[in-house]
Amino acid sequence: MNESESSPAHYGVVTTILLLAGLGSTIGIIVSILAIGFLEGIAWLNTEFLIAPHERIQLETRPLILALVVIGVPAVGGLIVGFIIYYFVSVRRPLGPPDTILVVQTRGTPQPLGSGIMSTLAAMISLGCGASVGQYGPLVYLGSIVGSLANVLKLKVPNLQAICIASGVAAAISVSFNAPIAGMVFAHEVILRHYAVKAFAPTTVAAAMGFIFANVVFDRPPLFLVVFEGIQHGYEFIFFALIGILGAFVAVGFSKGVLYCQNYASRSRIPAALRPMVAGTILGVVALQIPDVLGIGQETLRFATIDNAFEINELALIIIAKVAVTILCLGFGFAGGVFSPILLIGILFGALCGSVLDQLQIVGHSGVVPYAICGMMAATSPVIGAPLAMILIVFELTRNYDLTIAAMVAVVFSNLLASRIFGRSMFDIQLAARGFDLTLGRISAIISYGSITHIMRSEYPRFHPDDKIGKVAFQLAHIGRTAGIIIGDNDRVVGIVHVGDCTGLAPTTPLGDVMNRNTMRFSESTNVGEALEAFRQSKYEVAPVISSKSQDLLGVVYESDVISEYRRVSDRIRNEENEPI
């Protein structure tokens, strides 16, 4: 835990505003440059390694070389990625948005800088070699690396690390989608989980600076251009809502598939460093038949908005293949996110819905575009857990009000359903698996994360079963406690006593006769939330913490300390969420 959290601001309001705005714009510019470098790097690799269709078509007349490239590049890329992740990333898995969320929420220490850089490099190679993973997850992490560097300035601004990381993330999304508003909202919705003014200002500045830099200085092309005339019929909104509901199932199926495959891979006998290569080889074989599954699939994304570009069965086949290879690539350790693949899966799913509607010929419709966009957003928003940011991305990408309203309807229904049957997002589920469960809110997640040992006491009265209860009661009263831990000859906890148990008994009664042997015990893996719940059901206000490995007594935890810790966390959250500049 960071010390600065409770210290008051050391600067005046004007200085703080200037500091935050300066930090925000600096982070925005740096992230903008790095993000463009990252994206350009991927594009360059795609060109050099013949992953981009634009280059691949030039080999079309030489099918054997083409097949070698399509299978070989992802396989060799996978080998390199596996090697980098295994030997250079401390946690031996690619880093991504869940790691960022965790650091911001718990005010923990970010992963080492070297690990972050190597993980980003691995993502660049993964995407460059055509792995079916996303580019935005690594970009979000890249943004958070830049943001966390602000720590070296050692500024005395409360909660600075979280704000700077959120600014980095806002800039990353702003640059990669050309969507500054969505970037700013994403940082709040997914990373910070609150909308305090103090964080609002720097994230907005960062998102805007990133956008300006990318557009004015580098002249980046818009990510997604779509021409749309408008929704023709009011009843089509019913279909958009239906797509939302169906999209929730796509999202949940996809997320569960990825999580299952990650679990399966970790239990499999294939060495971790070699897993991406296995996934890459299978991906290449699939891509020989269905080239759309390779990489980010920018071309397929565009085709999905063209009427009659696909047959219905072709669409279904590509969706199934893309879901399968993405689950495989992510599960088997390619470095990358879920955002771009689910965008593609979603837009194809939406196009499928539109095509089916077109085939049925029961009612008129406005073409495939709004259905494709609705499908894209309905499938993506539950996976990312960012309905607001998703709606804004549609608005900023298409600059089309009709499409945004349509997408909004789909997103709302999809999120409603998916949050019921799955959870808020795939990131949250991954974090919950690591012990940080945000389902019941930030306070509950923070107190239920990590160990209780930081509020454990090592100085406490130690009683022996042979001690007389008169002396014990006196000692406890003297230190203002109502219960004490009883330790046997072998330094093992044998029981607990409450002063109430001693009333009416002869002062000379040995403690062993009255003590409760069914002592509530904590271990180093017990968290504050669990302790709070345990104390609530117990009359004793103290509990021993016993090492689960050596069975040694590590210390004791008092209920009052647990309650103080709970208050401290909830005060912190309240301050953070209501903090003025």
Binding site: E55, T61, V226, Q298, E299, F303, A309
Partner: protein, 363 residues
């Protein structure tokens, strides 16, 4: 040495000495119609006079096949060829044309070296881009009295705009226009065309107008077809249509949407007989003064900055010519810039697809 070979030696010696006695000759291959007429006036005739040379013109209608034919013994030799940039790239890759020596270019009037005066994209390994032209869609005003075609999609819309369409017999241009008719953004056209699905969409679009196509091969044909009322719309070069409208009073209007920009490139054949004279000619024809004179005759854009700044009135009609140039800001906002690298890399594939489609006609 027997008598027979001696005879041959005698004859060849005679031929050579005979060549010396005559004026120097230079063979230039270029496109026909008003284009070559303007070139003769602005480049060929002045060059002939200035250097006491006779220029032989050979017709050329694009592609690299004619150059490959020249490789065979017994064929006449070409010295200078006026090629499209994608053909020039392909010919360079096939080593049919010689590497270009930039030192033959003249500096601008104020001494600006060619390296700085030519727009950057005009330098090729085997040639120098000398003008930009646009392949455009145009229609006969008489055919559409009420609503006029206004977009690439209208060109493919047989129901709203019935009538025959004249299209160049090549996959070039028509593929890009088909993509544009699906509202594909210009910068993604070649990415989408790099997939089987892209080809399929193009085929689908072409099938819709299959029975309404009249193919043309030479640059002057579309104007004639429109004039004679044989077609109502046509693809063609912007300068030809301009010339037809301004100088011949034929009611042809260019559709501003989807203009297809390319550079025309002077190249020297690898087996040119007079590479020295060819180089001298290219230097002359790419001088600022000659470029300006040419653009004032036909609205094709010069590739020298010093020439772009000097363009004024159309030589024949005294109308301002600047706004008719392909790169003019008055032209459409959906302008396609040829991806020549993609073109030279997909030559075989595109031609195979196109011929298959042509042969499947009528089924």
């Amino acid at each position: 040495m027997n008598r027979y070979s001696l005879a041959i030696l005698m004859v060849s010696l005679l031929t050579v000495s005979n060549g010396w006695a005559q004026d120097d000759e230079l063979t230039i291959s270029s496109w026909g119609g008003s284009y070559v007429a303007a070139q003769s006036e602005v480049f060929f005739e002045p060059f002939e006079k200035e250097h006491n040379v006779r220029i032989n013109l050979r017709p050329y209608n694009g592609g690299i096949a004619p150059l490959e034919l020249l490789e065979n013994p017994g064929h006449a030799s070409w010295d200078v060829i006026d090629m499209t940039e994608s053909d020039a790239l392909a010919a360079c890759n096939h080593r049919l044309i010689a590497e270009f020596d930039r030192s033959i270019l003249h500096p601008a009037a104020d001494g600006t070296p060619p390296r700085k005066d030519f727009v950057r994209s005009s330098f090729f390994k085997c040639g120098i881009g000398h003008l930009s032209y646009a392949t455009v869609l145009a229609y006969d005003e008489r055919a559409f009295a009420a609503i006029k075609p206004n977009s690439v999609a209208d060109f493919f819309d047989i129901e709203r705009f019935p009538g025959k369409r004249a299209i160049q017999r090549t996959p070039k241009g028509i593929m890009e226009w088909a993509m544009l008719s699906y509202n594909v953004p210009v910068r993604q056209i070649y990415d989408l065309l790099s997939t089987k699905r892209g080809f399929r969409l193009v085929t689908h679009r072409l099938n819709q107008i299959r029975d309404h196509i009249v193919w043309w091969d030479e640059g002057h044909e579309p104007v004639e077809l429109l004039r004679e009322g044989k077609v109502v719309m046509a693809s063609g070069f912007n300068g030809r249509f301009y010339d037809a409208r301004t100088n011949q009073n034929i009611p042809i209007t260019i559709i501003p949407d989807g203009q297809f920009l390319e550079l025309s490139v002077w190249t020297i054949h690898r087996q040119a007989r007079r590479p020295d004279l060819a180089a001298k000619f290219i230097g002359f024809a790419t001088s600022t003064e000659r470029m300006v004179a040419f653009s004032n005759t036909l609205p094709y854009g010069p590739t020298r900055k010093s020439a772009i700044d000097r363009i004024g009135l159309h030589a024949a009609s005294n109308a301002s010519i600047r706004e008719h140039l392909p790169m003019s800001e008055f032209a459409s906002n959906r302008r396609i810039r040829t991806d020549s690298e993609w073109y030279s890399g997909t030559e075989t594939l595109r031609n195979r697809w196109f011929n298959e489609w042509l042969n499947s006609a009528g089924e």
